[in-house]
Symmetry: C2
């Protein structure tokens, strides 16, 4: 089911700037047991991302009402929320005032092999390097061609994710996930000040580490460190945490910190879904 500005529909105007320029932002979240998971965090990030582009974010009540309308999609599904700057005449100058478009759609939760969560995933190194754009770094905007080009690099269904480095050789993320390394028992996750998308599960892992006394460093992470790390995690709102079990010649056994972190996230989820 798809809602466009709150009304069931499956089309948008050709003149929408989301199409013309990728002039908008999005979020993907899980609904489980009828509950949008981590709604507070997703809505906060949505608001910050809209602000980065100067788009007025729909108010929370409106979006919650859209989500409620999707409930005939069952109790467990994936939701994608897209907010664009809305329609406008040809040309880059945003219309003023703009009338943002909001698209809220439900789809089946992705079905990954049990293996991925239990034993970990096969990871590959992508050839494309992420460029720097501090004005857009961290923002989950609709300009995602780098991710598309990266994901086009392989079609082996057994490889779950590709590792993306930036043009200076720092590891940044997966094509659809954030990245964490475990080194000497501490967590490290790439700083997203020049590229990358700041996901909600990344925020949750950082916060859970702090709550449980595990050091978590947000910093530049040279690509080589990934191979040397004790554990390598890929995170997003639909998969939670995947551990890497294979990257090139490197193999990892199921880690100990990842198991604890999953438990901490589950506990947090039970308290504040």
């Amino acid at each position: 089911m798809i809602l466009v500005n709150g009304v069931p529909g499956d089309t948008i105007a050709v003149t929408d700037r989301g199409l013309a320029y990728g002039d908008g932002v999005f979020r993907t979240l899980a609904v489980r047991g009828g509950q949008p998971r981590q709604w507070r965090r997703h809505y906060d990030r949505l608001g910050r991302d809209c602000a980065a582009l100067g788009i007025v974010c729909p108010d929370e009540t409106t979006l919650r009402s859209d989500l409620a309308q999707l409930s005939n999609s069952g109790s467990d599904f994936a939701v994608k929320i897209i907010i664009t700057r809305g329609s406008g005449p040809r040309g880059y100058a945003p219309p003023s005032p703009a009338q943002p478009t909001r698209i809220v759609s439900a789809s089946a939760l992705p079905q990954y092999p049990q293996d991925f969560a239990a034993r970990g995933i096969r990871l590959r190194l992508c050839a494309i390097r992420l460029g720097f754009q501090p004005a857009l770094a961290g923002v989950k905007h609709l300009n995602r061609l780098e991710n598309v080009l990266a994901r086009r690099e392989w079609d082996d269904a057994d490889i779950a994710e590709g590792l993306l480095c930036d043009t200076e050789g720092n590891a940044i993320c997966g094509t659809m996930t954030n990245l964490f390394l475990v080194e000497r028992g501490a967590l490290f996750t790439p700083a997203l000040t020049r590229c990358g998308v700041a996901g909600v599960t990344r925020d949750r892992v950082i916060d859970a580490a702090a709550r449980h006394g595990v050091a978590c460093h947000v910093e530049n992470v040279a690509c080589e460190r990934v191979l040397q790390a004790e554990e390598v995690w890929l995170t997003n709102s639909l998969v939670g945490i995947w551990q890497a079990r294979e990257l090139g010649d490197r193999r990892w056994a199921p880690g100990t910190l990842v198991a604890r972190m999953r438990q901490w996230l589950d506990e947090e989820s039970a308290q504040s879904p």
Copy 2:
């Protein structure tokens, strides 16, 4: 008038990857006297840009037939052609085979003050810097948030264009135009190997210079050189060549080479529209 896959319409599917990821390319060209101008060059560039993303470009006959359908929009109008990878399920992996979406729309030619062509335009320096992405450099793709953010920096209608530099301090382009400098009688235009869009009028200027024995260098151009240049030109398919008459404290009088270049382009246009 708008044609979506050859059929009059003004909507596209919400699931189109052009919206989801900016996964597509576009061109803007002029129809004058019922003739799409510089069609051969535009179609060639469209094909190259599609290839850069691995999208199958519609064949020329199909697009010419779309253009013919637009002829009830009058004899002089602007055409925008968008080619996206088409619809797909959630996720970055492109569907295979993909069914590209083609959107061909007519709108009124922009009406700029006579002044802009005759006396030149006021130019400003944009604060945002273009990031590097060699895999997409030169391609007129739908990921245009940098241009949108740049164009949002000012709303003084008297300023026609903003100058964009890259993160290393090279001048690259305007928000919607390519850039040429005249130095000691020779032409210089920024290399577009790391960012920027290679426009058809840029190609035409480069070719016309060669035909008429004017040296034209494609190279990195430090931002400071813009202020020192004898003439500064901004080019695109709808405006032709605008000369800068003002940037910060710098003023330029109408140039001599720009007048000759306009004549050369007009002559070429008469021979191969």
